[in-house]
Symmetry: C2
C-alpha cells in the first residue's frame, strides 16, 4: 500500500476515568505515519481486542502492568499486518499479533510480538484474539489450573456468555462437570444452553440467584469461575461445597465504580467449607500457551467448543466499543475491525 | 466425692443472640446430678475452654457443627475428671478432655472423648485446652498446611496476642520468617515482642495499619494469618506479595454484628498478586493431632513457644467470660476454672 495518502488516526488517553469510562477520557489525534528505522517494522491494525481489564490499565495504580500514561495511545491487543519492514524476522504481508493500541498504524521492533505462529493456520484471522487468544487462554488456565474441576463436579460460571466465561464453561463440560452459567438476558442464556452445551443458564436480570442456586445445587458448588464479583460472588459463596475452589478471574461489576464496592461478606464460607479463593494472571502461563492453543483448537474442530465474536467497525468507534463490555451489550468476544488486510 | 449434696449447675442457651452475645441469652438452672448407666460415666468439669467460634454455634444456621439447641447446655470443650464410671475404658480419677459444656457435671458414653492420652504427662492440666488444644492445633495446621511459610517470608498475624495467633506467629518465627503481629493495646504488644519473639507488634488501636505495613513490608506480605477479618483483612490485602497465602482462621470482628459487615473489597488483590485466600477447620486434621502435639511440646520445652492462659473462676461467670473474647480483654487463652480435681 502507498502510505503517503494516509494519516495515523489515534485515540490517546486524555484523562483517568472516575466512575464509568467515557469517550471524554480519550482524545482523537491524526498524525503522520512513522517510517520504520533499521530493525523495526510498520504494521497496520486489522482487528482490535476489547477486554474488561483495559479499564484497570487506565488507572494510575500499581498492577501487573504499568498504567497507560496520559497522552499515550490507549493500550490494546490487536491483529495487524506488516506493511513495511526493516527487521529480518518480520516480512511485509505477515499477519501478527501484538499490543499495538487504538490507532491505524504502529511501529514495532518485534519485542513482545506474538507472531501467531502457535495458532493453527486454518483458523479465522480473528480467532487469536478470542478463543485462541488471551480470553480463551484465561478460561483454559483459570479453570484447569486454579479451578481443578473433577468429573461430576458442579461448576458455576459468571459472565458465562462472555469471551472467557463461555470457554471456561465448555471446558468444564468437556471435563465431565455439571455446568451452570449466569448471563444477562434471555438471548445470551439461550445461546449458552442451545449452542454452548451449558446444563443451565440463569438470567441474572430476572432470576433470584440465591434460591435458584439452592435448587440447582443441592450438593453445593465445587468450582466458581467468577468474572463479575459483587452480589454474584457474595451470593454464590453461600452455596459452595466442601473444598470448593473459587477462581477469581475478574470483577467487572466493580471496575467502573467510583467508590470500591463492598467485598464478599460471605467469604467466611471459606472457613466452614474449607474452601479457597484464588486469583491468577494468564501471562504467567505464557510458556504453556502453545500446548493450550493446540488443545483448544482440537476441541473447536471437534465441535466441543463454540465461540462468538461481536465485531464492531471503525477506529472512530473504539471508545464506545469498550463501553459495550461494561454494559453487557457484547455477545462473546468484543472486537473492532479497523481495516482489511492487503 | 459424695454426690448427694451436689446440684448440677448449668447454663442453658435460652435465646439466640442478635448482635453482641449477652448474659440474657442464657438461663441458669440447678438440676439433679445424673447417675451413669451401663457403658456411661460421670465427669465433673475442671476447666472450660472459651473460643470465638462459640458465638457461631449459638446461631441457627448450617455450619461445620450443628447449632446448640435452645434449652440445651451451652456447648464448650473442657478438661474434666471421671467421678463415677460404668465404662471399662474410663476409670474414676481419670483426667479427660471432651465437650462437656457449661455445667458442673456431665454424663458421657465415651464417644468423641479425647482422653488426652496424646498429651505429654508432664504438662499443666490446662495445656490441652490451650497450646496443645484446639487453639494451638489451629495455629499449627493453619499456618503450616494452609499458610506454607518459607524461610525469609514476611508473615502477618492478626489477633496475635490471642491463643491461636500467638502460637501461629511463634511457629512462623521457628520457620525463619519475619513475623509481624497486630494486637490491641501496649501491654499485649509488649508481650509479643518481649516474650513471644515477634519481630514487630502493631497496636491496632493507635497505629495506622496501612502506612505501617507499607513501611514494614516493602517487599509485601507473603502470609497473612487472619483471626479478625474486617478492616484488618481489607487493609492488609493491599500489601500482599506475589503468590501470597491468606489463611482465613476467623473473623472475630464480625461475629457479634447484627448486620454482616462488608467483606474485603480489596480481594481483587488476589488477581493482581496471583494469591489465594483459604479457610480450614482444624478438626479435619484430627488424625495428625498426636504428631502435632508432640512437635508443639518439643518447641514449648525448648522455650521456642511461650503461651499465656487467662483463667477466670466460677461457673456462674461463664457468660461474662465468653464476652471477654469479643471485647479483647483476654490475654492468651481464655479459660474458666469450675472446680479442683479430687
Amino acid at each position: 500500500m502507498t502510505l503517503k495518502n494516509y494519516k495515523n488516526r489515534q485515540w490517546l488517553l486524555s484523562s483517568r476515568p472516575k466512575g464509568m469510562v467515557s469517550q471524554k477520557n480519550f482524545d482523537w489525534l491524526e498524525s503522520e505515519v512513522q517510517t520504520p528505522k533499521e530493525g523495526e517494522f510498520l504494521v497496520k491494525n486489522l482487528y482490535l481486542s476489547f477486554d474488561p481489564a483495559q479499564r484497570g490499565w487506565m488507572e494510575d495504580k500499581k498492577s501487573y502492568v504499568p498504567p497507560v500514561g496520559l497522552g499515550e495511545v490507549m493500550r490494546a491487543s490487536s491483529i495487524a499486518q506488516v506493511i513495511e519492514s526493516k527487521n529480518p524476522d518480520f516480512k511485509e504481508g505477515d499477519i501478527i499479533q501484538g499490543i499495538f493500541g487504538w490507532q491505524d498504524f504502529a511501529i514495532s521492533d518485534g519485542k513482545g510480538i506474538m507472531n501467531a505462529a502457535h495458532v493453527p493456520a486454518d483458523i479465522p484471522i480473528t480467532a487469536p484474539l478470542s478463543v485462541f487468544g488471551i480470553t480463551g487462554l484465561t478460561a483454559y488456565f483459570g479453570l484447569l489450573d486454579i479451578g481443578k474441576p473433577n468429573a461430576g463436579d458442579t461448576v458455576l460460571v459468571s459472565g458465562a456468555a462472555g469471551a472467557t466465561g463461555s470457554i471456561a464453561g465448555q471446558i468444564a463440560k468437556i471435563k465431565g462437570c455439571k455446568v451452570i452459567g449466569t448471563a444477562g438476558g434471555a438471548k445470551k442464556c439461550r445461546w449458552l444452553t442451545e449452542k454452548a452445551n451449558f446444563d443451565v443458564a440463569i438470567d441474572y436480570k430476572t432470576a433470584d440467584l440465591g434460591s435458584t442456586l439452592q435448587e440447582l445445587c443441592p450438593e453445593g458448588i465445587n468450582v466458581i469461575f467468577d468474572n463479575v464479583g459483587g452480589e454474584f460472588l457474595n451470593t454464590s459463596l453461600l452455596r459452595i461445597a466442601q473444598n470448593a475452589r473459587i477462581v477469581i478471574c475478574g470483577a467487572i461489576s466493580g471496575y467502573n465504580e467510583e467508590v470500591q464496592p463492598p467485598g464478599p461478606s460471605n467469604y467466611i464460607s471459606l472457613i466452614i467449607q474449607r474452601a479457597k479463593m484464588e486469583g491468577f494472571i494468564v501471562l504467567d502461563y505464557a510458556n504453556q500457551f502453545k500446548d493450550a492453543v493446540e488443545e483448544l483448537s482440537t476441541w473447536v474442530k471437534e465441535g466441543k467448543i463454540v465461540y462468538q465474536e461481536d465485531i464492531a467497525e471503525g477506529l472512530e468507534n473504539a471508545p464506545e466499543t469498550l463501553l459495550r463490555l461494561y454494559s453487557g451489550k457484547n455477545i462473546g468476544k468484543q472486537l473492532l475491525k479497523v481495516s482489511d488486510p492487503d
